[in-house]
């Protein structure tokens, strides 16, 4: 078995962090530098372009496995993952002597396939599939399709690399950010001899807060804390270096092209400036619905009309680099005052995110509840002395979110789940009352215990009113508390509203159908 397949299987075989780090270290010890670089690239989302379409992938693999397309789709609906479906279907067809590709060999193969004419692509890919064992076939498919998440956070990878190379964690985290690829960079230059001028766009790792777990009173003197709104936008980093402006999202995606208005506004910043803030749909000093931002984030090179219809701004809360000097070790109150100097109140589209000056924690609690009126999701509490750290850390920064919205709703449709849950009804549609009728308004998953899922499943099987394909209409009887993060008007939904991140909070066995909320009550949350 190739060393990288061993690595991924070891990572999968345990859910203990220590085992995973051990497996990563073992890989770093024995792997070639190019393979290590590819591994880092894959973990940080720097994969080669997808060489074929999703449809081609399904059709060609079904053909290679000798199953008809409908049967392939049945299998997929049970397995719930195309890459895995293909690996499982091909396991009986593959060669008895699978080829052990190194990670970089396989990646070069992937790039090569991407450049072939379609007819040849199919043959080469089918042969490649059949030359892999089940484990490498699955991983190869994952790398080909993207969405590659296998049980290791970037933070864990950084830790292992830091140990392996005897470099500090923040240094590694910084070095693996920005614009690079195994095709343009060497392991040594990227990780051990970085030249700071080499990549002017390179962002810093974001510092992330934990949810507040204690009574805020326990944080001590309120004046020692910088209190800000927790905006419901997209975390971003704005960089101006060498007369160029770069905008990064927290997902480490360069999104400059989507926001030419913001890029232009940031040209006035001095070179060697890096700002941390929240990208928001924003106009006349107030937040607009998140949906507008969503439109912009998916649009490269937006039209003037698009920009006018979905105006955006950045609410800036931190200064990471000032005059070309890494400013992250400075204390927050120093960074903040320097930031205020830099931005002031004048710059269009780049606003200083306000801080709240409150006399005690009771007032802070009040401000938190009122934050929703500003479309914020609560407050951020940041120690005035805190340096800007990297990754998610406890202690200095806390997010104190407002509780999500809640509504009691009735289960009206159920559908079977995927994978192990394929025999259970786990996907539910919920309704609220409107003029003596139940109107559906959202789907929601998860949130129930296995035992509850079994009980709901039994209920569904015994109380089916109608079947349309996979969907069953059930007797309206069960009431659930649905939680969600936001709500907005929607013409596409029968109820006229759409929810963000709906989920089941609780099964309200204490409530009767009549006790469920009404559509009017739901709309009041708009």
């Amino acid at each position: 078995m190739s060393n990288w397949v061993t690595l991924f299987e070891a990572i999968e075989a345990s859910n203990k962090t220590s085992d995973k780090v051990k497996a990563l270290l073992a890989f770093f010890e024995i792997a070639e530098e190019e393979d290590k670089l590819w591994l880092i690239a894959i973990f940080t989302g720097r994969k080669p372009k997808k060489p074929i379409t999703a449809t081609e992938m399904r059709q060609w693999s079904a053909e290679a496995a000798g199953v008809e397309q409908w049967l392939f789709e049945e299998c997929y609906s049970v397995v719930g993952d195309v890459s895995e479906t293909i690996a499982l279907l091909l396991q009986t067809k593959s060669s008895n002597q699978p080829i052990n590709y190194s990670l970089s060999q396989l990646m070069h193969e992937l790039i090569r396939i991407g450049k072939l004419p379609v007819a040849e692509k199919k043959e080469v890919l089918q042969n490649l599939w059949l030359s892999l064992d089940k484990g490498s076939c699955f991983l190869f498919n994952k790398m080909m399709t993207g969405g590659f998440r296998i049980g290791v956070s970037q933070q864990l990878l950084v830790q292992a690399l830091a140990t392996h190379l005897k470099v500090t964690v923040p240094q590694i985290a910084h070095r693996i950010m920005g614009n690079w690829s195994p095709l343009t960079h060497q392991f040594q230059e990227l990780l051990l001899n970085p030249n700071s001028n080499a990549d002017a766009s390179k962002p810093y790792p974001f510092y992330l807060a934990y949810p507040l777990e204690i009574n805020p009173e326990e944080l001590g003197d309120v004046t020692q804390w910088q209190i800000e709104y927790k905006w419901d936008g997209i975390r971003c980093q704005l960089i101006k270096r060498n007369n160029q402006v770069y905008l990064w999202s927290r997902g480490e995606e360069l999104i400059s092209d989507n926001f030419p208005d913001l890029i232009a506004a940031a040209m006035v910043l001095p070179n060697g400036t890096v700002l941390d803030g929240e990208l928001m749909a924003w106009e006349h000093n107030a937040a607009l619905p998140f949906a507008l931002l969503q439109k912009r984030i998916t649009r490269h090179k937006p039209s003037k009309k698009m920009i006018a219809d979905c105006p955006c701004a950045i609410l800036i809360y931190d200064l990471l680099e000032c005059n070309g000097i890494d400013f992250r070790t400075q204390e927050l109150y120093i960074r903040r005052s320097k930031l205020a100097e830099l931005i002031g109140n004048e710059l269009p589209l780049l606003h200083l995110s306000p801080t709240l000056h409150l006399k005690d924690w009771t007032d802070v609690a009040k401000a938190r509840l009122e934050s929703r009126n500003l479309r914020a999701e609560g407050l951020m509490l940041k120690s005035a002395q805190s340096p800007y750290q990297s990754g998610r850390k406890r202690g200095d920064w806390w997010k104190w979110k407002v509780d999500p919205y809640q509504i009691d709703a009735v289960l009206v449709y159920a559908q079977k789940g995927h994978g192990r849950r394929a025999n259970f009804y786990t996907d539910y549609t919920f309704a609220v009352w409107h003029q003596q009728k139940l109107v559906t308004f959202t789907k929601a998953y998860s949130g129930l215990t296995d035992k509850e899922i079994e009980m709901v499943d039994q209920f569904v099987k015994k109380n089916t009113l109608e079947k349309f394909g996979p969907v069953r209409t059930v007797k309206p009887e069960l009431v659930f508390e649905i939680g969600f993060e936001g709500i907005q008007e929607s013409a596409r939904h029968k109820s006229g509203v759409a929810l963000r991140f709906p989920r089941i909070l609780k099964w309200r066995t204490d409530k009767k159908v009549e006790d469920a909320n009404t559509l009017d009550e739901l709309k009041r949350l708009l």
């Binding site: 859910n15 299998c75 499982l88």
Partner: protein, 342 residues
């Protein structure tokens, strides 16, 4: 199902009117022939039970004092003019396929089965018939079982690795069948082997019925010292319960056919998943359907619709049956099993 055939699907289960008996009924129904001792097949409340002797013992253990009549494999019993014969199903000890025939009509109810020998259950034999009622818990081509020897070797390897690191190993497996299959495959040179109370009680029942089992000690007799590097076989219902605390530090594993899918491995939140099933995989299902020679195939458990459509595409007459059988279960083990011993 065919009009006026020898076997009908009633609201209580599969029913033979001419013989006036049910097969694995899921509600109290009357006289019942039971394919095997799993709880979705052998249910409480029947006036009389007919089954293989091992299954009779298992039912007495699980259901209490029930009225049983034992029938050995391959001996035909006439019931109201209908011939009833049991054939090994290879699923668990005592599991049977039921052949029912009268005149030119022959039916086989497979119960649960697998075609490869596991060294524990009486090996499956193909039975020819006109009408074959087959389970298809794993009726999709994604399911393909590795040879049992390889799976058991990887379980032993996992146990060994844990033991070397000073960890106990807890493996979750259904108390009837799977637990014993694993037990007989464990390498006792690695360490001591213990069983959860439910497993031990089942072992005693099977042992008394003449099933050969490797040694396995009751966990409640284990001292802290005994437990060092040991493996504990427990029913899935014990997973995530405080019962496990006394094994700290430990690693867990599930053994089930569902472990073939990453999604279910994650859902179970065990450290490891071993793909070990007591049901037929895709190849075995097709083999069984083929060797039955049946003109009509009726499907229960699992991916009925897909398997029926597949068989139809191969020119077979295949139908889905709506039954309440559960297939291979990970956490349906009865509460009783847990209570048996903590």
């Amino acid at each position: 199902m065919q009009e006026a055939g020898l076997i009908q699907l009633s609201s209580k289960g599969l029913y033979c009117a001419e013989g006036d008996f049910f097969i694995d009924p899921w509600y109290p129904a009357g006289k019942a022939i039971i394919t095997h001792g799993h709880s979705d097949h052998a249910r409480i409340g029947q006036s009389a039970y007919l089954a293989h002797p091992t299954t009779c013992s298992v039912m007495k253990h699980r259901l209490g004092e029930v009225n049983t009549q034992a029938l050995n494999y391959e001996q035909e019993l006439m019931i109201n003019g209908v011939g009833v014969t049991l054939f090994p199903a290879g699923h668990i000890p005592g599991s049977a396929q039921v052949r029912i025939r009268k005149g030119k009509e022959t039916w086989v109810v497979s119960g649960d089965y697998k075609c490869h020998a596991d060294g524990l259950s009486e090996p499956y034999v193909p039975v020819t018939c006109n009408h074959f009622i087959s389970e298809c818990t794993f009726g999709l081509p994604v399911f393909h079982w590795q040879p049992q020897g390889e799976v058991l070797a990887s379980i032993n390897q996992w146990w060994q690795q844990n033991a070397v690191q000073g960890l106990q190993s807890v493996i979750f497996a259904y108390a009837l069948g799977k637990a014993q299959r694993i037990l007989n495959g464990l390498d006792p040179s690695i360490g001591k082997i213990f069983g959860h109370g439910a497993v031990i009680a089942m072992n005693q029942t099977l042992h008394a019925a003449g099933v050969n089992l490797a040694a396995c000690q009751a966990i409640n007799q284990a001292s802290k010292e005994d437990l060092k590097g040991a493996i504990i076989i427990a029913p899935p219902a014990a997973s995530g319960t405080p019962w496990l605390n006394k094994f700290e530090p430990y690693r867990t594993a599930f053994a089930s056919g569902w472990m073939a899918m990453r999604g279910s491995r994650r859902w179970q939140a065990a450290d490891r998943g071993f793909v070990l099933s007591d049901h037929a995989d895709w190849k075995e299902l097709n083999h069984a359907v083929e060797s039955s020679g049946a003109e009509n195939i009726y499907l229960t458990h699992g991916y009925k619709a897909a398997f029926a459509k597949y068989l139809q595409s191969k020119g077979k007459r295949a139908f889905e049956l709506d039954t309440l059988f559960e297939g291979e279960s990970l956490n349906h083990s009865s509460e009783k099993e847990l209570e048996a011993n903590v």
